[in-house]
């Protein structure tokens, strides 16, 4: 058996916020008609959380659902369970017009921790990340500098960034540079 490793093996940086690669995540792309009761029931059963509305995520610990587009969800599970979850979801969606793909090894995730976490995001994205707009549980696809990414507010001081694994190094360096001491903006 080969041993799965994340893109940057958990590399971290402590600046005015902490930036760390969050390690391996099980991620399954689900495409289908999200307004269909059968699809919502199948996805809800397998994920254990309710299907979120637009630009939001529902999660508890390593399990959750993130809204990606009007016909796409991202299902999160512990990395080791991705294969089994994919099988269960395929079975639950049998007969429905839907598609499920294991994208766990095609993604990288970063965790940003610290009070000025919005400042760091705002340096890199055109998305509105101000309090009151980008609140707890908000999940938004956007770009960070030159690459597409999803940003997710986990709590008042924690955000997560999900991007393609192929740009993990670029993303880490970007976040670490934006988090360098002396770079505080103090806007929010």
């Amino acid at each position: 058996m080969s041993e799965p490793v994340s893109a940057l093996r958990g590399e971290s940086y402590d600046g005015h916020i902490r930036v760390e690669e969050a390690g391996l995540r099980g991620m399954i792309t689900v495409r289908g008609d999200l307004s269909s009761e059968a699809v919502a029931r199948a996805v809800g059963e397998v994920s254990g959380v309710e299907v979120p509305g637009p630009n939001a995520a529902n999660a508890s610990d390593a399990r959750g659902l993130c809204w990606m587009s009007p016909d796409e969800l991202l299902l999160l599970v512990p990395h080791a369970e991705a294969g089994e979850t994919l099988r269960r979801l395929s079975d639950a969606l049998a007969g429905e017009h839907a598609l499920v793909v294991d994208v766990s090894d095609a993604r990288a995730t970063f965790r940003l921790t610290g009070a000025p976490v919005r400042e760091v995001l705002a340096k890199l994205t055109p998305a509105d990340v101000s309090p009151g707009v980008f609140e707890l549980g908000a999940f938004r696809r956007t770009r960070l500098a030159q690459v597409p990414a999803a940003i997710w507010m986990r709590d008042a001081q924690t955000a997560e960034v999900v991007c393609f694994r192929s740009v993990a190094r670029y993303m880490f360096d970007l976040l670490a540079t934006a988090a360098r001491p002396g770079g505080e903006v103090g806007y929010f």
Binding site: P54, S69, P70, P126, A127, R140, R141
Partner: protein, 109 residues
């Protein structure tokens, strides 16, 4: 800098999150069309100064296509609307008439 409201995900998207898709409401001519129709589809565009209808894709967001009506000289945005339509909704046309009385675009006015 343009900010367009994406009707698919509800986000007010900055231009840098979007990919332009050119002129809206083209008829895609196929087999059986005349040379003139095919030329029209492939090459001939309005390229107006003023009111224009365009396709945009929320490329670095929800990934979906939509339509936008805007003014090419002032960058004023009259509105955005779903991709699944072959002409702008009346509500958008009314808003343009309010702002640009006497506007014309192809056979629309």
């Amino acid at each position: 800098m343009l900010i367009l409201h994406c009707p698919n995900c509800g986000v007010d998207a900055d231009e840098t999150e979007l990919a332009p898709g050119g002129e809206a409401h083209l008829t895609r001519e196929g087999p059986g069309s005349s040379d003139e129709e095919f030329e029209q589809y492939l090459f001939l565009r309005e390229n107006p100064r003023g009111v224009h209808f365009e396709r945009w894709r929320h490329a670095m967001g929800c990934g979906k296509w939509f339509h936008a009506a805007r003014c090419t000289t002032t960058m004023e945005v009259f509105g955005t609307y779903p991709a699944q339509t072959s002409e702008p909704p009346q509500e958008i046309r009314d808003r343009i008439s309010d702002r640009r009385p006497g506007w014309r675009w192809r056979e629309l006015s």
